[in-house]
């Protein structure tokens, strides 16, 4: 049997005149980040580990002194609630601020060309600086200063409930989330705890 493209043309065709081939630009950074995030929810990838961008992992440096104070700190599990509890410090840190994802979000925000709007977090960080406090790791629970915790609470809760999804749709919140997460990393690393 042979066919050609004029075989079987419908005598009462559908009206397709509204559709035409035309270039379409895809925000690949955001789409890729969304897909990778879905892995946390069981959406598997067929790409082998070699095909993925691996971020070299730094080893913790135990000889670096950690901030000694513990008073007035808030445990991350208190913020997340029982449902969002993540065992293990490293898992918590990676959950909050996976480096590759953050860099992709940063790029997405830069691509959008919109200014940073994260005054709430900035105030918290200023307060944190004044007090000379940083985040510290103790046992298997990440602990933050109250100021930092307040700024991060809604971010972390929403990440726990919905992943980073809401922050991609709302630029202001995305900025806040990104900067908050980045700040956590910075403070942790300054305190000698290296994430990935």
């Amino acid at each position: 049997m042979s066919f050609n493209q004029f075989d079987n043309l419908d005598e009462d065709p559908l009206d397709l005149s509204f559709a035409a081939p035309q270039p379409r630009k895809i925000d690949k950074t955001a789409a890729q980040a969304a897909a990778e995030l879905s892995e946390q929810k069981g959406y598997h990838s067929r790409r082998g580990p070699a095909a993925r961008q691996e971020v070299p992992q730094s080893q913790p440096t135990p000889e670096t002194p950690k901030p000694p104070r513990n008073q007035g700190r808030v445990k991350i599990s208190d913020l997340l609630g029982e449902e969002g509890k993540i065992d293990g410090l490293k898992a918590q840190l990676n959950f909050i601020a996976p480096a590759d994802l953050i860099s992709r979000f940063a790029q997405t925000l830069r691509n959008r060309g919109e200014p940073s709007r994260w005054q709430l977090l900035e105030k918290s960080l200023d307060a944190l600086d004044r007090e000379g406090e940083g985040a510290e790791a103790s046992g298997d629970q990440l602990q933050l200063s109250p100021d930092m915790a307040i700024a991060l609470a809604h971010v972390i809760k929403r990440i726990s409930a919905e992943g980073l999804a809401p922050f991609a749709a709302d630029t202001a919140e995305a900025d806040l989330a990104y900067d908050a997460l980045l700040a956590v990393r910075r403070y942790l690393e300054e305190g000698g705890v290296h994430v990935r």
Binding site: Q5, P13, L14, I26, A35
Partner: protein, 254 residues
């Protein structure tokens, strides 16, 4: 170009048949269509090869960007109006193929593997319409809810509004519906879930498309019975989908 993605986290829901029927109806109406296939079993590619349509074997083509994908598509289509691109389920090149396909066809149908996978997530994030087919079983209905939930997360994440419709496949082939089917329809209606009014019935002719490697319009009575009703069913389904897209296009234009 309009991207229609067929999504369900579960296999056996009728995704491949849905994609084939829609593609065939568009083709029969003179339209141009690319089917991007995420199922490693490559049912569309096998069908297209035997039917005489061009196929791009994505994993062997190893494109590294949209421009290369576009060149590969132009070369493969070469005057044809239907092309199948396989990806072996590897999501690495999906966005390049979607971006490139936009320049070469009126409609792109993305048909992922029936499992929760990132290929599906990427295709959904770029879809103009997501069709969620499900067979009238409780197991399928549960997966519909899971698929809708993940679709909404992808929507927020990608910042793109994703229009979707749930559609019944393998439905009762007659006026009398099963109790399960009625209950599932009622539950979806109560939840205000957007549904296609046309359901694809469980028809031998639909299965005959893959059995005989033909389009539905090319089957004859020796291939499968009930052809007339199957064709009417398929046409009504495609007309509803195309009608929704046309309305969207008009709204955007206005």
């Amino acid at each position: 170009m309009f991207n229609i993605t067929i999504a369900n986290n579960k296999g056996g829901s009728g995704k491949t048949t849905t994609a084939n029927l829609l593609g065939s109806e568009i083709y029969a109406s003179g339209g141009s269509i690319i089917i991007l296939e995420g199922d490693p079993n490559r049912p569309h590619a096998r069908w297209a090869e035997k039917r005489g349509f061009p196929v791009i074997e994505g994993p062997k083509t190893s494109i590294s960007n949209t421009e290369e994908a576009s060149l590969a598509i132009a070369d493969a289509m070469n005057g044809n109006r239907l092309l199948v691109i396989t990806t072996d389920g590897d999501e690495g090149s999906v966005l390049d193929w979607i971006e490139a396909a936009a320049e070469h066809c009126q409609f792109l149908i993305c048909d992922p593997e029936g499992s929760p996978n990132q290929w599906l997530q990427l295709a959904v994030s770029q879809a103009d319409m997501v069709l969620i087919p499900f067979a009238p079983t409780t197991l399928d209905a549960d997966q519909v809810q899971a698929t809708i939930k993940s679709l909404k997360q992808t929507e927020r994440m990608s910042g793109r509004k994703i229009d979707y419709r749930v559609m019944l496949t393998k439905a009762s082939n007659g006026a009398v519906r099963t109790r399960d089917e009625n209950e599932l329809r009622d539950a979806l209606t109560k939840n205000n879930t957007p549904m296609l009014t046309v359901a694809l019935a469980d028809r031998p002719a639909f299965r005959g498309v893959f059995k005989h490697n033909k389009m539905l319009s090319e089957l004859d009575e020796a291939d499968a019975g009930g052809l007339q009703r199957a064709r009417e069913n398929s046409k009504a389904f495609a007309a509803e989908v195309i009608g929704i897209l046309k309305t969207k296009a008009q709204q955007v234009a206005a």
